[in-house]
Symmetry: C2
Subunit: 199 residues, 2 copies
């Protein structure tokens, strides 16, 4: 019984260690150029041992993303409890979304930009859409308060999502492009969107 628990905790430790090392490498060198053997070297095990803890390479990233996006949802929910003004909630929530993406580009990329492994998308998209669900809720509050031009909450929510995803994705992927000041661009996108949906 005691042995069983210690074993379980050792397994969990190694599993988390793999995830930590993998995340670090993915962020530094990009998912594609990190090999199973490279991760294995870092943790001091053979490459095939990783397969005892994860289904495959995609699964490692999937689990990393799950952890990361739980934090995004928490952050956004926390922000939504700070204000009473629904439009203000919307503004702050969108800001948090964009900055979260810029702070976790590797994970944002996988979940929202380039979710290539199809079998894994369900998990990824579910993670991401938890944050989207919160956005929709607040859009609903704005609509209920009569602040919006359109009564179609779903349409408005997806419109906003497209906008903030767009600026996030561009800033992450096109570092070479001569963007205006980040802060300014993000602010402009958010204010333009809000101005566009208001009555």
């Amino acid at each position: 019984m005691v042995g069983r628990n210690r074993l379980q905790s050792d397994k969990d430790n190694l599993r988390q260690e793999i995830m930590d090392v993998a995340r670090e490498l993915f962020v530094a060198e990009g998912f594609r150029s990190v090999s199973m053997r490279k991760i294995a070297d870092r943790i001091g095990y053979s490459a095939t041992t990783i397969y005892l803890y994860f289904k495959d390479k995609n699964d490692i990233l999937a689990q990393i993303c799950r952890q990361t996006f739980e934090r995004l949802t928490e952050n956004i929910n926390a922000i939504y409890n700070l204000s009473d003004n629904p439009l203000e909630k919307l503004r702050s929530g969108m800001r948090e979304y964009v900055y979260f993406g810029l702070k976790n580009p590797s994970q944002y990329e996988l979940v929202f930009i380039a979710p290539l492994p199809l079998e894994f998308e369900p998990d990824g998209i579910n993670n991401g859409t938890a944050a989207f669900d919160t956005l929709r809720r607040v859009v609903g509050e704005c609509a209920a308060a009569g602040l919006l031009k359109s009564a179609d909450v779903e349409l408005t929510s997806q419109t906003l999502w497209a906008g903030i995803h767009g600026v996030t994705a561009l800033l992450i992927q096109h570092e070479g492009f001569p963007f205006v000041d980040r802060e300014k661009l993000i602010g402009s996108v958010i204010e333009t969107l809000i101005a566009g949906i208001r009555t």
Copy 2:
């Protein structure tokens, strides 16, 4: 002399044939899962022959994208000559941009969504920004006509780009997500953006 010309044209033919086959495969199976050997099989040559016509695998896609995005710029310029109303130009141009992306998802993905090979980005981004330059020009016209809230043409252009890129990228990459009607969503994004930048 004659021989030289015939040879040149044969080279061009094979080069174009490689591009045609590659484009077809890339669109059908995705860039990553198409191997040089698979392309080679289809054209009836050995894999290494491709390297006589293209620097590497990325280069094939780069050339395909160049051809494709020349068309986007042409299309947008043509549209801009149809109307005199600058806001109307903007609307139609943005529509064309999004629909072009949806019609050429593979190329749009490489140039704007996931331009992974860094050395190749200069070409890709230059291609893409030719279209962006046209967008900026029309935003300038709108500003000159006193139709815009902000006098910062660059900022406004980038804001619009973020918006239309966002909806294009989402629709391309997240087929599984329950989006509202495409047409409706695209229209909503464009109208929201325009409403947001107008005086």
